[in-house]
């Protein structure tokens, strides 16, 4: 009799625990906006207190490419540098200027207005990516040392940040 009771309680216990199961759901979101570096920038040094990407001053403008496969879904936000990511110890404050513009497009009909429709806030320029295809954005950056004092000798690095923001 005791055996039967134990067996019955075991069945009940088992049947109760069998309903408590977690079912996972997984999924992957494929990126439809890909950012890649087309041309790394280089600072030229036209005088002791200026570093600039202007080609006439020995610099190279950085170019970044946005590849979009879904129209009207993303903004391209590009921010020019406001500080060095690495440099020697600076002897004064640095003044930064920068800008971004459309360098090349893959669809004139649907992308040719990107430049005129861009918005700028602070060091960041935003483009509404209304068409699928590739767009190349070119930035310029200039750093001027305070009081026209010479930059200390050494290696200087600054970063342009490019972000694809979903609308």
């Amino acid at each position: 009799m005791i055996k039967n009771i134990l067996l019955a309680s075991a069945f009940i216990f088992t049947s109760v625990t069998a309903f408590a199961v977690d079912v996972p759901i997984s999924g992957t979101v494929q990126s439809r906006c890909v950012i890649s570096v087309d041309t790394p920038g280089v600072y030229g040094n036209p005088n002791a207190y200026t570093l600039t990407t202007t080609p006439a001053d020995g610099g190279v403008k950085p170019i970044v490419r946005f590849d979009v496969t879904l129209a009207d879904a993303y903004y391209a936000q590009i921010t020019t540098p406001s500080s060095f990511s690495s440099s020697p110890s600076l002897n004064d404050s640095v003044t930064w200027t920068g800008s971004t513009s459309v360098s090349a497009i893959s669809d004139a009909t649907n992308m040719s207005a990107y430049e005129t429709n861009k918005t700028t806030f602070g060091d960041t320029t935003q483009y509404d990516l209304t068409a699928t295809g590739s767009t190349w954005f070119e930035s310029s950056s200039t750093a001027t040392n305070g009081g026209n004092r010479a930059f200390p000798g050494g290696s200087y690095t600054a970063v342009v940040e490019a972000v694809c923001v979903a609308q």
């Binding site: 360098s103 497009i105 669809d107 004139a108 009909t109 040719s112 005129t116 429709n117």
Partner: protein
């Protein structure tokens, strides 16, 4: 067994590689068709192999226009087999677009358009604007088996019948030097004769060299033959010597010599032996002759 398997595998891999190397379609790109201007002939742009199929056109240029202008740019190829264009891509630069903007475009093309249909290419600008730094590149695929007779491995290849070899009688060939109607000048005849002499000399030299070679060969063979004969002769002599030695050995017999004293059996009767007169005379004459010869060397 393992070696055989390996060898077979290598051979199969090699043959497979050779096959794919010969007839596998390959891809390529042309140079910049717009390098010499905004119109070009496809005959000078595309390479020569048959079976060429353009699959993509890649182009880029920089538009120069006023921001308020509307400009259309057409990158196009005429239809060589008819009217209109076989390829035409239009870029609409609307008002608001800035001059100095570059466009980079990759345009796929409908496959299997015959090469002969690709007419002259051009960049056409409609509106108040210009195109700068244009670059137009055609990407293509080449199928070597477009003509099945290109390679025996091509599908549809038909083994050609062997050509009939015409039998020709060389003696019927025309020889100007034996033509009576050909009038040669003296110089030409001399030149011809000299040429014939040179040819004859060369033939003689060749014949002499051949004869010399044969002679050397015969001598070499003879030397070998002599050596063989000499060896055989030595063998024969050794055999004879061995046989003779047996005969000689048989002529001797074992004898015992008794011991004791053996006295001379010959007794000299005369007590004195006189010198020979003729010998004395002869010796004297030789002595005189010797002295005469010695004295002769002091006369001069």
């Amino acid at each position: 067994m393992l070696k055989k398997l390996l060898l077979t595998a290598v051979l199969v891999a090699y043959s497979s590689y050779s096959y794919s190397d010969d007839i596998t379609p390959y891809f390529g790109t042309t140079g910049n068709a717009a390098a010499g201007g905004h119109s070009w002939s496809m005959g000078t742009v595309l390479p020569t192999p048959p079976g060429l199929d353009i699959n993509t056109i890649i182009y880029d240029y920089t538009i120069q226009k006023d921001v308020n202008d509307s400009v259309n740019v057409h990158v196009q190829n005429e239809n060589a087999n008819g009217t209109g264009y076989i390829f035409r891509e239009t870029d609409e630069w609307k008002p608001g677009s800035l001059g100095g903007t570059e466009i980079r475009k990759v345009v796929p093309v409908i496959p299997n358009i015959p090469r002969s249909a690709w007419g002259d290419g051009s960049i056409e600008v409609e509106g108040n604007g210009t195109v700068e730094d244009a670059r137009v590149v055609y990407s293509y695929k080449v199928d070597p088996c477009y003509d099945p007779q290109f390679d025996p491995n091509c599908p549809g290849y038909v083994t050609p019948a062997p050509p009939e070899v015409e039998v020709f009688d060389v003696s019927t060939l025309y020889d100007a030097t034996k033509d009576e109607n050909v009038n040669l000048s003296n110089d030409e005849q001399i030149l011809l004769q000299e040429n014939e002499e040179v040819v004859e000399e060369e033939l003689d030299e060749d014949e002499e060299e051949e004869e010399k070679r044969k002679r050397e060969y015969r001598l070499a063979m003879l030397a070998d033959t002599n050596a063989s004969q000499l060896f055989a002769e030595n063998q024969r002599i050794e055999e004879m010597n061995r046989a003779m030695q047996v005969v000689v050995n048989n002529q001797y017999s074992n004898r015992s010599v008794p011991g004791g004293q053996y006295n001379d059996t010959i007794t000299l009767v005369d007590a004195e032996i006189t010198d020979s007169k003729s010998g004395l005379r002869n010796g004297l004459a030789q002595q005189l002759l010797h002295e005469k010869m010695i004295s002769m060397q002091y006369k001069n």
